[in-house]
Symmetry: C2
Subunit: 196 residues, 2 copies
């Protein structure tokens, strides 16, 4: 890895952490430069614009999400075990030390949902893939006979994601310690009703 690539990776790592707390819009070139101990222009040279930086941060988040959540979960057996692995991995992801503000997609989504542009477009595409992945996991569980054949897998993904969002909300905003237990309890209810 060349010097430039190293610096670039360091910038993106720091930017991702900051974005999970401040949001993509809360990122500033100057703030990042200070936090990394380099000049604004030196940092800026790695990105053509701030918008480009924001997209790169989303891309960095997506890459990490794949390697930390999706790929490991795919090693679990098809069906319900894999569904459980996804949930476990997602909770680990949300609590990762390099994401002090929790899942950056949750923060970015609320920020960008009504603000059109390339950054939003990129986020939407990432999130569509994520919803598809959840749905596919449920469909495989149907194929394996773990979930009922008549299960509405779209609805199932909608509700699972709702539990995850509620977890984020309760733990981050209301600071309730039982949020994870609530998420897991809801998950069990969701899995239970998918089985019959």
């Amino acid at each position: 890895m060349s010097k430039g690539e190293e610096t670039r990776a360091a910038i993106l790592a720091d930017a991702l952490s900051q974005a999970s707390v401040l949001g993509l819009d809360g990122l500033t070139i100057g703030g990042l430069a200070t936090s990394l101990g380099m000049s604004k222009s030196g940092l800026y040279a790695h990105f053509g614009s701030k918008e480009d930086l924001q997209i790169q941060v989303l891309e960095e988040a997506r890459a990490r999400f794949v390697s930390e959540v999706m790929t490991p979960a795919l090693r679990a057996p098809r069906g319900e075990p894999r569904v459980r692995a996804i949930l476990d991995r997602w909770i680990t992801w949300e609590k990762a030390s390099y994401l002090p503000g929790g899942c950056p997609f949750v923060a970015a989504a609320a920020e960008l949902d009504d603000q059109p542009g390339p950054v939003r477009d990129h986020l939407v595409s990432v999130q569509r893939d994520w919803m598809d992945a959840l749905r596919t996991a449920a469909r495989i569980a149907v194929e394996e006979g773990h979930f009922a054949p008549e299960l509405d897998t779209r609805q199932w993904a909608f509700e699972l994601w709702g539990l995850a969002l509620s977890y984020h909300w309760f733990s981050r905003l209301l600071e309730q310690d039982d949020a994870e237990a609530r998420l897991r309890a809801g998950f069990e209810r969701l899995v239970g009703s998918a089985r019959v």
Copy 2:
């Protein structure tokens, strides 16, 4: 209502609309002044600081939420009918014309969840009340015999709010038209499992 109060109300109305799209942090004194056709300083004189303006906007949102969602729902019969009324009213609220970006609390929550200060404190207090209200509605349904006595009302509120958040996400970010139907389907499943 004096002239000043009128102007103040007009400012807050506009600020609330903007905040539902841009977030509380996206509000700018200059932007509001332009949108209202008045000077920055004339507008600014109504508020001691931007932080004060943000809190006033939250207060305006809370007042409207009470009068548009809570109070009307309280007129419905105790128990399950009232629970249904809350959901219906909340959906109306989320789609209100003066909230072009949807529920401002959802936007503000993601924005402020990791940024301490008086604005966040105010939001947290409002949201705690809201969760209490949801929980109380469920508890009354238990008292009325509509929901099972052993129902965990905190868990119930956690899951209902998750459905609402997922609705916001699917409709605003992914722009899926069936989001409301998904929310209502999830609600029916939630009510159904609360009954037994």
